[in-house]
Structure formats: C-alpha cells, structure tokens
C-alpha cells in the first residue's frame, strides 16, 4: 500500500517521501509530499485471521506557495478516492519548521485484502 500511495501522490507531480527522511542539511524542495504510516490494524476477522488490513497513513504536503498548499488536499482526496482509498475529511494545517513553507495534512486509509 505504501508503494501505491507513493505512486498516486507522485502522479500529482510532486515527490513523496517518509516524514522525517529529509537530511538536516538538505534544502526542502519548493513543494513536496511526505507520509507516515500510523497503524495497520487487521479487520473483518474470520477463523481467527484478519480478512483485510487497514493501512492508516497521514499524508502531508508542504510548499512555499500557500495557495498550492490550500488546494492540494482536494486533489489528494480526489486521486486517492478514485483508487479506492478512504479519505477522512479535507485535511488540517500542520506546523512546519521551515519559515519558507506552509503545510497541510490529511488522514487516509488503504484497504488491503488478505
């Protein structure tokens, strides 16, 4: 699911990498995605085994252009829903430690059938 998420996000035209993986001395790209897997619980149990797994991710988008940041979560929502992901809400602001960037995040779930 992680690879699928990266593919969908990068299909929107910006790189996607794990939250926290940018090197300290590396400059931030002008606009980019990061993501973090919060949990992957099993669900729909039958015969003591999960019939599916719910990959819970937070997707972040950071950019120097606040207008782009504001509109990106709608595009993420549309692209992920088209691929069968569950998208919770329309996103929320997140703090950024780069004075040049602003950021928003959205919680999404990818369903993997077992």
């Amino acid at each position: 699911m992680r690879d699928e998420l990266i593919e969908i996000l990068e299909g929107l035209g910006y790189t996607a990498q794990l939250q926290g993986s940018l090197a300290k001395d590396e400059p931030c790209p002008a606009a980019f995605f990061t993501f973090w897997n919060d949990d992957t619980p099993g669900a729909a149990f039958y015969d003591d085994d999960a019939r599916r797994f719910e990959h819970e991710f937070t997707v972040y988008f950071y950019a120097t252009d606040p207008v782009l940041v504001a509109e990106m979560m709608s595009r993420v929502r549309q692209a992920l829903r088209a691929a069968g992901w569950i998208v919770q809400g329309k996103g929320y602001d997140v703090p950024v430690d780069q004075p040049t960037h602003t950021g928003r995040a959205i919680d999404v779930i990818g369903i993997e059938k077992n």
Partner: protein, 147 residues
C-alpha cells in the same frame, strides 16, 4: 478525542445517553462523571510525560529545553456544556515548545512514535474511552441501587 483551538479535549459526547441516565437518577452524580474524566486525563498526562522522556525525543533529548514538558496539561478541571462533560488533555499549544512538532513530525524530523500512538492511533484513545465507560457504568449501577 476532539481538537479544541489550542489543545486536545477528552469528552463524554459519545456517552451522552449514559451520562444523561446517571444524571436523571442522581442529580448529584456530576462528581462521578467529573472524576472519571479527571482520572482519564491524569493517565493521558502521565503517558504523555513518559512519551517525551529524553530517550524518546530526537537526538535523545539533547536539544530539549524542558519547554515541551512544561506545556503538558496537568490538573485540569472538567467543564460542562449541557450534559457533555469535557476536559483539556495533552499539550497547551499556546506555549512555546509545545509538542505539535513531536506529534506531526516535520520533513526533517520523524514524529515521536509513542506520542503518535497516543494522539493518532485509535487504539489508545479507545482504551481510555473504555475506562471512562466502565467507571460511568459503575456510577449508573450505584445510582440505580441508591434510587
């Protein structure tokens, strides 16, 4: 768990029916509801402080000034909005050094795993909610017996 303007809040909104029943039976039962929430909030405070112990922070807390610890909410009082009781928990995000970055992470800093488990995963808060429900169900049984 709801997110208020400058903090997270723990509330009894999902248990509205149970709270209403307790209050109908015993008008003085507000204290039992408040006690359940205050106990839960204390658990969250203790777990939050454990989660930001130096060993769990980026660079083993070498750059920690203590400001994050100071922003952890403790000894909060329950507020009521109608029959919904609520209490602020977690961090006071108006204070410098509050744990916002530690929960969300940044492009150059991974989130603190233990905080993430508490504030992003459903399981931790579901367990807290279950503890509150158990205490309130006990209060309901007591109120029924006394009534």
């Amino acid at each position: 768990m709801a997110k208020a303007k400058n903090t997270f809040t723990l509330d009894t909104a999902p248990l509205e029916g149970l709270v209403q029943k307790i209050l109908d039976l015993d008008g003085d039962a507000r204290e039992a509801v408040e006690s359940a929430l205050e106990q839960a909030a204390e658990t969250i405070s203790d777990d939050t402080l454990d989660a930001i112990a130096p060993g769990n922070l980026p660079a083993q807390g070498r750059y920690s000034t203590g400001a994050t610890e100071a922003s952890v909410l403790r000894d909060q009082k329950v507020r009521w909005t109608g029959t919904n009781a609520w209490i602020p928990v977690g961090f006071d995000f108006t204070m410098p050094g509050a744990g916002g970055y530690l929960i969300t992470g940044t492009p150059k800093m991974a989130p603190v795993a233990q905080l993430r488990k508490m504030y992003k995963q459903k399981r931790y808060m579901a367990d807290i909610q279950k503890d509150i429900t158990d205490v309130l169900e006990d209060a309901l049984i007591r109120a029924m017996e006394e009534g």
